[in-house]
Symmetry: C2
């Protein structure tokens, strides 16, 4: 896929024929937001084998550039190398790379100290090309940092019980510290039932309601913070963007992003408002925000006029819009009209290259956190 | 206790000597907000016996005035008798009475149909006078509607294990459908550990993080909605005050009230902002709200100037302030300066007589809901 073009669609035409959305299903944006890396829609990608297959891979971490070792705790600790905002850009790709370096170091240290390597298990059901791609990307990311990955690939007609049995196996497996079920599942399955079956101590996606409840409650700590929201906050931390006492507006209230990121902002003492489809004047409220996090899945919805001068904008949206100039036929844009917002904001995440790369980095972080917790390793 | 005086302290002096707060502990307001009824601080109240005691009582519902039977579901269904707002007053006492009538009818119906009577167990530890009073009030309320109540009273020096054993007993007891641990516990106990021990199916206070997580997540339903937040929303419903599409500001973010009531408002499609101690301009934000819910435990903090003309104000605060004209020596005021706010708002809850009575009514409702759910009774 060619690098994202710098010619942006006129954002006022985002709902017209000039920027038609490709016919992806409603779940695609959610899928993208869950865990993915520099999204590619590989139309020529080879289909994964249509058989029950179980793969696992162990690897040594690749040689990576030396970076300051920052301990992998859920709260950001100041790095010796403070990241500067260049050209208003919150560079998720660069930050994710740094984080992967830190993780690789920690994985090595843990292996040397106690002979334990973190393990991430991914369960994939069916033949969706995008799902297969995301799983591949996660496995690659694991390999780069030295985390062992396990994959179970069940066919399209697998029963819910087969999925539950796979989960059960990984729950019991001491070499597995994180379990992820690639969504969406096939239609005949009860998604809630399946997700609930993942052991809370290994639920690296962090969507279990018990986790969310602990996130919502003061004095409680979740086992895991959901990856994409965690990535948003991590970006703010890494660029030393203050949160405490700030007005924050979250646009979107999904279980996967909007709601947990609002809880996270509140935990860090922002004054949070959640804007959603029933909000009467979203522009007016958003314009009051020092921090805007947009996660709605609507291309270019947030215009420059919505942004307070100097605000920080985190754009979670990954929306494919038709672009005949691209070999793939489409390009990705966020929920925010980048061209307009960049003029007004003090800092903004690009799409792609902003939140997306952070999501998988947080998945790796969560897997490492899990392994450390299970083995009581500091 | 004499009826609340109509002479209000000048709210600008609420932090001065003229309205000194009585020296209650920090936990008292929380206690009041958890489950209580028309608060009375009975200094001459007889101390409960300082021995391990277990009481249970069954009763037939008292004769109550006929009211429309509204099915006890968690969502309000329109009553045939719509409540009118008189003199801007959201009369919690009156609404609670109506609800108790409805509950009594349902308890009778269930008893006649399947021979099951809902049971509420309350565990009390120690000798705090207020705690003993609240437990008494809950037991009385159960008696009025025909719910069986059980009480375990453990002494001040009881061990955490003894409390856990009591909880365990009630978890297993088929005649118990709701279990409530009266807070605060004694200092040597781990409150989270104790509350976590209550079976999620009987946790009528609804504070278990699993419950809160289900409240936060779209598409999920909690087992129970926490009583005070539930009471706030029920008041809005009963007076047909629209929530969808409205701006709501919740002042306070406690686990017990602020946070869950914010989640409830969002579930009903309000656009919610949470104001708290780190908010820089709480007045400015509150003034944008169509619905204000104040739950901070600071007497008269919210002034008239904070309220948008025509807004609806729900005041959860129950703050004792010194009042030498009272036999008890104090009176109760809310978090909102009633005298000022009433001029501006379209409707407001009085203190006392607003949210307070609703809280125990919701506790009874939750107990009934639990019994119905356990016995699959419609």
């Amino acid at each position: 896929m060619a690098a994202a073009s710098m010619v942006f669609t006129d954002c006022s035409s985002s709902t017209t024929a000039a920027a038609r959305l490709l016919p992806f299903t409603r779940t695609t944006p959610l899928l993208l937001r869950t865990t993915q890396y520099a999204v590619v829609f590989p139309r020529r990608f080879i289909h994964p084998p249509r058989v029950l297959s179980i793969h696992s891979s162990s690897s040594s971490p690749s040689q990576l550039s030396t970076a300051s070792i920052v301990s992998q705790t859920e709260k950001h600790e100041k790095s010796d190398t403070k990241l500067e905002i260049v050209n208003k850009r919150l560079d998720g790709k660069k930050v994710a790379e740094k984080i992967r370096g830190e993780i690789a170091e920690e994985v090595s240290r843990m292996k040397d100290a106690i002979g334990v390597v973190p393990g991430l298990a991914v369960i994939l059901v069916g033949d969706r090309e995008e799902s297969a791609t995301y799983v591949s990307k996660k496995k690659e990311a694991c390999e780069v940092v030295g985390i062992t990955s396990f994959e179970v690939h069940l066919p399209e007609d697998a029963t819910e019980q087969e999925v539950l049995d796979s989960i059960s196996g990984f729950n019991e497996d001491p070499s597995v510290h994180g379990i992820l079920v690639q969504l969406p599942l096939t239609r005949h399955m009860d998604e809630q039932n399946v997700l609930n079956a993942v052991s809370i101590e290994k639920d690296v996606d962090g969507f279990h309601p018990l986790n969310i409840g602990c996130l919502a409650m003061r004095g409680r700590e979740p086992f895991f913070v959901p990856c994409t929201p965690k990535g948003c906050i991590e970006l703010l931390h890494r660029y030393d963007i203050p949160i405490k006492g700030k007005r924050a507006v979250v646009i979107g209230r999904s279980n996967i992003v909007g709601m947990p990121v609002a809880l996270l902002l509140q935990r860090e003492d922002a004054t949070v408002s959640i804007v959603h489809s029933r909000t009467k004047n979203p522009e007016e409220l958003t314009k009051q925000a020092d921090i805007v996090i947009a996660a709605v899945g609507q291309a270019n919805m947030v215009r420059g006029s919505w942004i307070k001068p100097g605000a920080v904008v985190i754009d979670v949206g990954i929306n494919p819009v038709e672009d005949k100039t691209k070999r793939s036929g489409f390009r990705l844009v966020g929920d925010v009209c980048y061209k307009e917002a960049k003029e007004i904001a003090s800092a903004i995440t690009p799409v792609p290259g902003g939140v997306g790369p952070m999501t998988i980095a947080m998945l790796l972080t969560n897997t490492l956190i899990s392994a450390k917790r299970i083995h009581n390793f500091q």
